[in-house]
């Protein structure tokens, strides 16, 4: 891989990687069982340079912010490199958000350019939120059919053709390590968007640290299915493999049958998933094992037990592939590690895969720290922890209680510069150089971090989505009660766990109002309109007026302290 300590910016590192690994395959794009594209680093460079030239011709100045709303595909990465090459700031937006949510974040970022794809553009272009993103001057749309309604956008492919007619290369615009490379949104919308300003240094340091434990090299095939806008896939599905000459395989569908087939078809080495996908994969394996005839099942169980005993201290991939050949062949036979992140994984599921000889690199991270803070180094594998801090990352437990559990705080060159246009929140989150994660943890005697819940009012879903209760409250705006708010139940009543988190609606009814089916249905009707992962799971009634500032702003922490006096099991009423 490249020695990233020598570089000042992502653009320069990627530029050198493209030259160094020019004959290696860098991208394979598949849709279901069809391969749509295969590019070498040279091909990738040629397309990126054409786009960079077109952007610069259109007045793209250093520091310009360019947002991206695309599914995982080759043009995502080609566009990203063209933006970095031109000294721009990338704003990756989750393509799974609603169009209005996407526009809200684009507007918040003040992006002047939007790159998207035609499959998403009809709904995006017609959304009301488009009017709010008034800074956007140029929209490029990939894969638009000849008669497609561009709704004011330009064809991405036409930019490449136009600049190919003129041979002058684009200008490479170097950036400093402290310059912003990306603005990554760590939460959804509806409240206070958290735009993490991540510097070139953040990415270069994170990449060096991560690849020192999980290396890439030419010939490695990384399967990219998490949205590339997600911090994990951006790092291990773009920056990491590219600076090492590896191949990224994009799969443009998440259908489980094609996902599983891709392992065999492309001999996948690494894949990143969220816990939900890992759990689903486990269920598939478990049902296959359960179908084995009794005799075969006994032999299989014995082989798993033998593998478990022989890999206790460290993984032995060659041995495991021989012992449990059918399991490994069903995943292509080359899989070294499944990287899992975005949310907390249940130790039982991690151990299930490790016992089959498939190590799972679980860890702990935040977008605010440019992806990973700790990772399981597999020496030995510890399913009950989230691993050890990455090289160069300091982690401490602040204000520990009698059990040694306190807030996880992080100091390193991977910690973001701050939240975009939110100095108040930045000052609360980064204090004297330490990132206050809001998560509760403890180090065990061997230096592995264990997590025990959160001290902040939020939940993380098994899909890896951060949900802030304040952002859900809008869904209940016209509820006919005196006042209400939404809390993460574990924030009120800490549970020392990272799983099974739920949101509850806290409400004070009007005078003479009673808790009955009518009110329950009114809440349910509003709840059902929310996205499935945003929904509340129960209701907490309180008779006392909510504590508020003179400006009527809710004093959430005081209300929380008051509610914490109630018995959780009796206080949460089912909906």
């Amino acid at each position: 891989m490249l020695d990233l300590t020598k570089y000042f910016c992502l653009g320069a590192a990627l530029k050198d990687a493209l030259e160094k690994f020019c004959n290696e395959t860098c991208l394979i794009e598949a849709d279901r069982d069809k391969e749509k594209a295969r590019l070498t680093y040279r091909d990738f460079g040629a397309q990126s340079m054409s786009l960079a030239r077109a952007l610069q011709d259109a007045g793209f100045a250093p520091g310009t912010r360019a947002s991206m709303v695309m599914t995982n595909q080759s043009k995502w990465l080609i566009s990203a490199y063209a933006i970095f090459y031109s000294g721009g700031v990338l704003v990756p937006i989750d393509w799974m958000l609603t169009p209005d949510e996407q526009w809200e974040l684009i507007a918040h970022s003040k992006a002047q350019v939007l790159v998207t794809e035609f499959s998403l553009w009809p709904r995006l272009s017609k959304a009301n939120g488009r009017a709010t993103a008034s800074d956007v001057k140029l929209v490029l749309v990939t894969e638009a059919p000849a008669n497609g309604d561009l709704a004011g956008a330009q064809r991405w492919e036409a930019q490449l053709e136009r600049s190919c007619n003129d041979n002058a290369p684009p200008q490479f615009v170097p950036r400093q390590r402290t310059d912003i490379a990306c603005i990554g949104y760590s939460s959804g919308t509806g409240g206070r968007p958290k735009g993490c300003m991540l510097t070139h240094e953040n990415y270069l340091e994170q990449c060096s640290a991560l690849t020192s434990i999980y290396p890439f090299w030419p010939g490695v095939h990384y399967l990219s299915i998490l949205p590339t806008s997600h911090a994990i896939d951006f790092m291990v599905g773009f920056v990491g493999p590219f600076t090492c000459g590896a191949t990224v395989v994009h799969l443009r569908t998440l259908r489980p049958e094609f996902f599983r087939d891709a392992f065999r078809r492309y001999k996948i080495t690494y894949v990143s998933v969220v816990p939900l996908v890992l759990k689903n994969l486990r269920a598939v394996f478990q049902s296959r094992f359960d179908e084995l005839p009794k005799g075969k099942r006994r032999i299989f169980n014995a082989l798993v037990a033998l593998n478990k005993a022989l890999t206790k201290s460290h993984p032995r991939p060659t041995l495991s592939r021989k012992l449990l050949a059918q399991v490994h062949q069903s995943l292509g036979g080359e899989l070294r590690t499944i990287i899992v992140g975005g949310a907390f994984s249940e130790p039982d599921t991690l151990q299930f895969f490790y016992d089959l000889g498939i190590p799972v690199a679980n860890g702990y991270g935040q977008t605010e720290a440019c992806t990973a803070i700790t990772v399981n180094d597999l020496k030995p594998f510890r399913a009950d922890t989230v691993g050890k801090p990455l090289p160069g990352i300091e982690v401490k437990i602040a204000e520990p209680d009698s059990d040694g559990i306190g807030e996880v705080r992080v100091r390193s060159k991977t910690v973001m510069a701050g939240y975009l246009d939110d100095p108040e929140l930045t000052a609360e989150t980064i204090v004297d150089g330490w990132l206050h994660t809001g998560d509760l943890g403890r180090f065990d005697s061997t230096g592995h971090l264990q997590l025990f819940g959160r001290r902040k009012n939020m939940i993380v879903t098994p899909q890896g989505l951060n949900i802030f209760p304040e952002n859900v409250e809008g869904g209940f705006d016209d509820l006919p009660v005196e006042e209400f708010c939404v809390f993460a139940a574990n924030y009120i009543w800490p549970q020392r766990t990272m799983v099974g988190e739920q949101l509850v609606l806290v409400l004070r009814m009007k005078k003479d109002q009673t808790w009955d089916d009518t009110l329950r249905q009114q809440i349910a009707a509003r709840n059902n309109k929310l996205k499935n992962y945003q929904r509340i799971q129960g209701v907490v009634l309180t008779g006392d007026e909510f504590p508020r500032t003179t400006g009527r702003r809710l004093k959430r922490h005081l209300l929380k302290d008051r509610l914490a006096q109630l018995d959780r099991d009796h206080a949460i009423l089912p909906l």
């Binding site: 279901r32 599914t71 393509w95 799974m96 609603t98 499959s119 998403l120 443009r252 569908t253 998440l254 259908r255 489980p256 049958e257 939900l276 996908v277 689903n280 098994p462 899909q463 059902n528 996205k531 499935n532 929904r535």
Partner: protein, 80 residues
């Protein structure tokens, strides 16, 4: 071409078979996440079955954000 009503009924019947439910359990306005307690990946498995039945391809982006049978049937109908 079948009517939207017919397509919706077929979607409901297939979903009931897929999740081993008694006929008539599901209705067009039902939210599949809530009614069936399934996650997004289990929904994708159902979609594969629906695609095979209707002999169409439903790209992931086409069903992103859809959570009720009626809207799902509309998306299928538009591809018939």
């Amino acid at each position: 071409m079948p009517t939207l009503e017919n397509t919706t009924q077929e979607v409901l019947t297939l979903a009931e078979q897929h999740f081993k439910l008694a006929p008539g359990t599901l209705s067009p306005s039902d939210d599949f996440f809530k009614k069936l307690g399934i996650d997004s990946l289990q929904t994708l498995e159902l979609l594969s079955r629906l695609e095979n039945h209707f002999n169409i391809e439903l790209p992931d982006y086409e069903v992103q954000g859809v959570s009720d049978f009626k809207t799902l049937a509309e998306r299928i109908q538009s591809r018939l």
